[in-house]
Symmetry: C2
């Protein structure tokens, strides 16, 4: 075949780049597990009827069908047809209902999987991409402290990643809806929709839209003043109260937001948790806390991590399962950084050592050295051929392998030696005890523009 | 929605079962990386034209299409249509060609991903399943020692898994084809096909088929005598020579097989590498070494790990890329063991500790204890509610969490304590220094029928 070309919207990475993605996934998983979130995987397909329930997404769903369906079978009805999942929330809700009798509630789970959407590809927006979700789901009830938990866990997880500073903006639907209702607004959803466009169209256009929908200038102004409020502590609550609007729902939302800020507000390493009362998460069915995260310098990617509280993640008629969760867009975040070369891996192989060969006949001895190193957790590979040592060193160099192990035959003093090919420093070494520095054991994440690296 | 039911052929696991699968994947990955195999992932879809090149599989391919393709677009031609990959070899070959200028050869990669086939579901055969592949691919040439390498690496990887004894059967296409040609057979593929059915139909039916195809009784007998030979060392070569057949290709195959057995033959923990001259790997395009692995007591699953040498894994017209690789069927192997309850995880959460609460107001102090434990790598979760301690202990019990951490308020001596709820043993503990035994840090794999566990 001739040389194939990439498929737009389906990013793939070279080994050194994949090493970065793998480390990010490992770090996310480690944090989620430290907090007692259990990993699950769900199948890639769901019945189309399930996928289309969420609305607004039907154009983006990929249908899956057998190339040659059995000739005598009826064409499959829409209900029976399968499609690729476009997020991890719909399959998780189905999994909870399907297995509710076998799960312990509150159920904490994480899920790191590919999802598919037929969107027009652009930077950070792919047709196949990886998401990392955490959710806590309750059986009938789910206390508010789980809202705090998911914000805390995702902020901690993201703060451990090699990323630019992140701003996790939090808000509360009860606060916003209660405020609008306190203003006398009846069609709360319409106002939410209008204010949700604030960042795109600016305050004047939002004000005009609200007035065009029949709201008074005073109401439109109050909505915009609410949306302008942000901060990392309870001062946010005072600012809202100063607007002089009252409702029970608003009070409940303010109390929840204040509680959340009290526990999580402020900076944790590279991640700042901040209330931003303009955040609404569009038309998603959130009912309380909502979160949306932007990466500094990459605001054009939109939200890289978002979520919120659903009072009804799932329901089987007799029991309702409330949930709160947040998703991190692994591909959306890393894709642009890897593609631009902002991040890369230090080498294209896990090997820390290339074991050189004196001759092809010496391969079994070299295998024994490699086995001794591997038994102590040191990844290594043998030189592919017993070429001149200079060529074997270049084999290591081209892969970014930091050390070359020389057999006794190759050294002046007739004893095995290991050379750091970055510095040229060579020392005698015993395969039963030598260890590279921790930083060289695995490929590391490099930020080429950053003098300090990582 | 009403309670959903599982989709046949799309296995999903409960958290404790998924913990087993995750540990198996981690262990495979660890071994592959220790041997210098770089992890990559390829997209789930390939152009249909690529997927159908391999032949014989067209009925099993899933086509992927947008639910609402743009109205003004032409219907997609077969070449442009996308399908889900049915193995990891076709996408890897395409990846090598696409990135050949950016890869270092010989290129070692592992790939652990889901694949999809529209097969009729049965035990161990799924429509969506996970495979773990290793391959080494060369640029023009690939020395035979890489055949040894992939057998060694996969045998080592499998020997570290919590599985029944495995038998990896190896053979060599050159040996078999050279033998047939030495007998004067012209349509070697037809004889391969007939002998490949030996395990299913028995020797008499194979002999009848060969004779029906025009071969003499002597030729049919020689083919069957070759197929009956097996062993773990070079005695196998002597047995073949004793059949009195000669050809250069046979000699080359015998030399390769003897070299492979010399390096890898025999037992490594639970895995035995043994020559079995009946193994042909059907119609796959292997050209030298072939391998096929069965799990003792689960022979009806067929091969759980198989592979071989391709002289042309990929070619772009000017360069040919030979490869040798082997695949391990993660789902095929674990699915039946998990479904039958032969293997399960020791708990349904990563948490080793549940931190109990004296009151809801004490949640911040409990969070501080949990944070101190997590900082030292101990996964833990807080009690969901400040119920009576007996209820909090049962929360831990139901999840299989081995330890409950009690605040000072809950203990007789007024100091924090940790209880092993399996034994009831309770000791005073400091969150800055207490550690559980290593075996309790993570969920472990349990073999319920096995008194010793793992």
């Amino acid at each position: 075949m001739s040389r194939p070309t990439p498929l737009s919207g389906y990013p793939e990475w070279l080994p050194a780049q994949r090493a970065v993605e793998q480390q990010v996934v490992d770090e996310l998983r480690r944090t989620f597990e430290l907090h007692g979130f259990a990993g699950i995987e769900t199948r890639a397909v769901e019945p189309m009827a399930q996928l289309l329930r969420k609305g607004e997404i039907d154009k983006e769903v990929y249908v899956v069908s057998r190339l040659h369906a059995d000739a005598d079978a009826q064409p499959e009805s829409d209900d029976r047809r399968l499609g690729l999942h476009f997020d991890l929330t719909v399959p998780f809700a189905r999994y909870v209902l399907e297995n509710s009798g076998k799960l312990q509630f509150p159920f904490r789970r994480y899920q790191i999987q590919k999802v598919w959407r037929g969107e027009r590809p652009q930077e950070g927006r792919y047709r196949e991409f990886c998401q990392a979700d955490i959710d806590v789901v309750g059986d009938g009830v789910l206390p508010f402290h789980h809202d705090i938990e998911v914000v805390e866990v995702m902020a901690e997880a993201m703060s451990r990643l090699p990323l630019p500073p992140l701003r996790m903006q939090v808000n509360n639907r009860k606060l916003v809806q209660g405020f609008y209702r306190g203003l006398g607004v009846e069609d709360v959803a319409a106002v939410l929709r209008a204010v949700d466009k604030l960042d795109k169209v600016g305050p004047d256009a939002v004000r005009a839209a609200l007035v065009a929908e029949g709201h008074s200038d005073a109401v439109a102004d109050a909505c915009l003043r609410l949306a302008a409020i942000s901060g990392t502590d309870a001062a946010v609550v005072e600012e809202v109260r100063a607007l002089g609007v009252h409702s029970d729902e608003l009070d409940e939302g303010l109390h929840e937001l204040a509680t959340l800020l009290d526990a999580t507000g402020g900076r944790r390493g590279t991640v700042q948790v901040v209330a931003a009362l303009k955040i609404a998460r569009g038309l998603d069915y959130y009912t309380g806390t909502v979160m949306e995260t932007v990466m500094e310098g990459y605001e054009q990617l939109g939200s890289i991590s978002a979520g919120g509280r659903y009072d009804a993640l799932a329901s089987d008629g007799s029991t309702t399962y409330p949930g709160v969760g947040i998703s991190f867009g692994v591909s959306r975040t890393l894709g642009p950084l890897l593609a631009r070369g902002v991040l890369t891996g230090s080498r294209s192989t896990p090997s820390a050592v290339l074991v050189a060969l004196a001759s092809e006949e010496a391969r079994p001895q070299a295998r024994a050295v490699a086995a001794a190193l591997r038994a102590r957790g040191i990844a290594c590979e043998l030189a592919p051929a017993a070429q001149k040592y200079g060529k074997q060193i270049r084999q290591a160099e081209r892969r970014g392998i930091p050390y070359v192990w020389f057999p006794a035959e190759a050294t002046a003093d007739g004893a095995p030696a290991v050379r750091d090919i970055r510095t040229g420093e060579q020392t005698g070494a015993d395969d039963a005890s030598w260890l590279p520095p921790d930083a060289d054991l695995r490929p590391s994440v490099i930020q080429p523009d950053d003098e300090q690296g990582e």
